[in-house]
């Protein structure tokens, strides 16, 4: 017998969206000098949600000037006072958490269950964690009398709009920097609501500035001569361009880029738990996760058993209205991203992999991609080497632990990896040999503000989270230790 689900939509009445949005510069919402706007849409319905200001180079300059002005007093404010501002922000985020979750789901397409239970609670937790660092910077690890870097330019992606904002802004502010942040083109709304929260927290004008726009706005920010650091999360391709752009300057740089994580299942793995971990690994947030477990490496002896458990589990995933509290997999963030996923999935067919697709019904409007698994994947296939950034899993097999490690490391990326096994010594040895910044053993896609996150190799450099994440926004105050 099958259970029917009644619709359980979250109410959107808690949010009021401005039809026309301004930039947040110097503590005020102001019109863009460019006078230009672009639209942001709900990817689940293709409904236009609002118009967003397109910040030009002149607008970016105004934001950097505001941040530079604010830096003088913000960096001199005692750590304990800075801490209290950041604690205020954390509290207001908790108070307005439902509003933030609904807005995030409307603009991004991710299920309300995720924005409500994962994204927004982690956002508040990040501000809480870093608030407490603001008056303890001498313990950050850069030596005595640590100093903030100055004005930080931050560019974030659309997959976790508010969470990536928190990862960037919370440590920067705690360390005494001021920021100019550019949200992703398709997901500006939660950043603008965050700007309102900064006003409610009475954060001094100019400490946080939000400039909305697309690639050109980001370029203007990265290339602005008066910023001291660039922090970027996004694709490896854009990360490379930014690293080239800051060459020859004194700007510091941290990059959190793409990934093609191996999720390795050994024959002694607890299979039921593993299946849940595989699902979390690749279908969480529609697979729009840089650390997604997109390459499943299964020990050959259990391949068939595992797959026979996995497929029926995937059939149970509910794909559809992100505002429905029962939805597991939401909408693909944009038409452009959906096209990319189709293109790569098609390459899987062409190169000889075998496609399995969930039989779940998909809504008629909006951008959707049903949970998909490719088996018979070989290492040279594009779906085994390129980041798909969608709900598509590529399954490969191995016989020995050494082969698993070689295959897992056979990628220019190195962001994350998973290990499933009952044997402690094997987990520790494999964890040590994987060239990736985050290793989940018998779990996957867990995040915490105290836990450093970031990549090896072409997945970028620098860490976000924990003490190590704070260091990225400080420099030694005296000659070397």
């Amino acid at each position: 017998m099958t259970f029917e689900y009644a619709p359980a939509p979250e109410s959107r009445s808690i949010v009021s969206i401005n039809p026309k949005n301004k930039l947040f510069i110097g503590g005020e919402f102001i019109d863009a000098k460019s006078g230009e706007y672009f639209q942001t849409t709900n990817p689940a319905t293709e409904e236009v949600l609002a118009e967003i200001s397109l910040a030009s180079a002149k607008d970016v300059d105004a934001a950097v000037v505001a941040a530079r002005k604010a830096f003088k007093s913000w960096s001199k404010l005692s750590g304990s006072q800075r801490a209290k501002y950041i604690y205020r922000i954390a509290r207001i985020i908790q108070e307005r958490s439902r509003e933030l979750a609904v807005l995030e789901t409307l603009d991004n397409g991710k299920p309300i269950r995720e924005s409500r239970d994962v994204d927004v609670p982690l956002v508040a937790a990040h501000f809480f964690h870093y608030a407490g660092w603001a008056d303890k910077l001498e313990y950050a690890g850069v030596g005595p009398n640590p100093r903030p870097l100055g004005v930080v330019g931050q560019v974030i992606p659309w997959n976790f709009p508010l969470l990536m904002l928190a990862w960037k802004i919370a440590p920067a502010l705690a360390a005494g920097n001021t920021v100019v942040l550019k949200p992703a083109e398709t997901t500006s709304l939660s950043a603008l609501l965050f700007a309102e929260i900064c006003q409610q927290a009475q954060l001094p004008a100019g400490v946080v500035n939000i400039v909305t726009g697309a690639g050109e706005t980001g370029k203007a920010l990265v290339n602005h001569p008066d910023i001291n650091k660039v922090a970027f999360t996004g694709s490896t391709e854009v990360g490379r361009q930014i690293a080239k752009a800051v060459a020859g300057t004194n700007k510091k740089l941290t990059l959190e880029l793409g990934g093609k994580a191996a999720n390795i299942v050994f024959e002694d793995a607890p299979l039921d738990q593993t299946v849940e971990g595989i699902v979390d690994g690749i279908f969480f947030n529609q697979g729009h996760v840089c650390c997604a477990g997109s390459r499943l490496l299964v020990q050959e002896s259990i391949h068939d058993d595992l797959m026979s458990l996995l497929y029926p589990r995937l059939e149970l995933l509910r794909v559809g209205d992100p505002m429905d509290k029962n939805t597991d997999v939401g909408a693909i963030n944009s038409a452009e991203q959906l096209k990319k996923i189709h293109e790569l999935a098609n390459s899987g067919d062409e190169q000889g992999a075998v496609r399995w697709t969930s039989s779940c019904p998909l809504p008629g409007t909006g951008f959707w991609f049903a949970p998909t698994v490719f088996t018979n994947v070989s290492q040279s296939h594009r779906i085994a080497t390129e980041e798909i950034f969608g709900p598509v899993l590529s399954v490969l097999t191995f016989r020995t632990p050494d082969e698993a490690i070689d295959k897992a490391n056979n990628t220019p990326y190195g962001l994350s990896a998973g290990i499933w096994s009952d044997k402690g010594s094997r987990i520790l040895e494999v964890a040590a040999k994987l060239r990736a910044g985050v290793i989940w053993a018998n779990t996957f896609n867990k995040f915490d503000p105290t836990s450093p996150f970031g990549g090896y190799k072409e997945s970028g450099y620098g860490r976000e989270g924990g003490r190590q994440g704070l260091e990225a926004y400080l420099e030694a105050g005296v000659a070397h230790e």
């Binding site: 937790a125 080239k244 985050v438 779990t443 105290t450 090896y456 190799k457 860490r463 230790e481």
Partner: protein
């Protein structure tokens, strides 16, 4: 009187624990302060640079897998051997125009000892056990980045040379060092120190030659993970090298921050999660 003729040393490259001449057959002349001939030093080529990267990559697994205690002792032994050879280094530094060469050599020895002692402390100082909100054991540890290309300055300095090398190898990285003309003879002598201490073949590789010729090949090399550009004085070249190094997102040092910050440049923080429960 002693009428026995000096047996001069042939100044060669140091790759994979051996002392090859440049495959290009090229050399450059190094004279002393009075313009008196000292040596024909091997002038490394692109091919030599690539060989050096292969050697460094091959040595990486074993060196990074060695215990921190072992690495510390190996690096400490470099200081032991250098101490015994200090008269030679003092003479060479003096002939290269370095004032106060004797205290300079002692400082270089102290630097090596300082870095050696950090090998088994990096994890403690840089790593952490993280109190995540949930039933997980979560820890972060530093691991070496991989192969590091080090550009040393044309101002001869044994202190900088050993510090730049030690900061990279102490955590388990392997290095390819590019040494321009004026610094070349002390680097050749250091290679001989390394070869007679317990540093495994390939962990340190030394290329004497023209930085402007060699560094671009290393900056664009996809099997090099990090680069110390502090020794490059030409600003345009330095910018070009940094831009080229972005191709595979190499970790970059623009200036050399002697000490823990330098060590940190060449480590990656790895965070491991595991659930807790019965």
């Amino acid at each position: 009187m002693n009428d026995s003729l000096d047996v001069k040393r042939t100044a060669k490259l140091y790759i994979n624990g051996a002392f090859p001449r440049s495959e290009s057959g090229r050399t450059f002349v190094v004279n002393d302060q009075n313009n008196k001939f000292l040596a024909n030093v091997s002038k490394a080529s692109r091919k030599d640079a690539r060989d050096a990267v292969v050697a460094a990559r091959s040595a990486f697994n074993k060196w990074s897998d060695a215990s921190a205690y072992n690495r510390g002792q190996v690096i400490y032994r470099i200081a032991e051997i250098l101490q015994g050879r200090s008269p030679q280094f003092i003479a060479e530094l003096e002939s290269a125009g370095v004032k106060k060469a004797a205290p300079h050599v002692l400082e270089a020895i102290d630097k090596i000892v300082w870095y050696a002692g950090f090998s088994d402390k990096i994890s403690m100082v840089v790593g952490s056990a993280n109190p995540v909100a949930g039933k997980f054991f979560n820890f972060s540890i530093p691991e070496p980045t991989g192969v590091v290309a080090v550009c040393v300055s044309n101002e001869p300095s044994l202190v900088n040379l050993v510090s730049q090398i030690s900061a990279a190898i102490v955590s388990g990285n392997t290095v390819v060092v590019v040494v321009p003309e004026n610094s070349s003879l002390i680097a050749v002598s250091l290679a001989e120190v390394l070869a007679t201490s317990d540093v495994p073949a390939g962990v340190v590789n030394i290329l004497t030659g023209d930085s402007a010729e060699l560094a671009p090949w290393l900056a664009s090399h996809l099997d090099v993970n990090a680069m110390d550009l502090s020794g490059i004085s030409d600003k345009n070249l330095k910018t070009e090298l940094e831009a080229s190094a972005a191709t595979n997102l190499k970790r970059i040092l623009r200036t050399f921050p002697d000490g823990l910050s330098a060590i940190k440049t060449y480590v990656e923080i790895k965070t491991v999660w595991h659930p807790q429960g019965f």
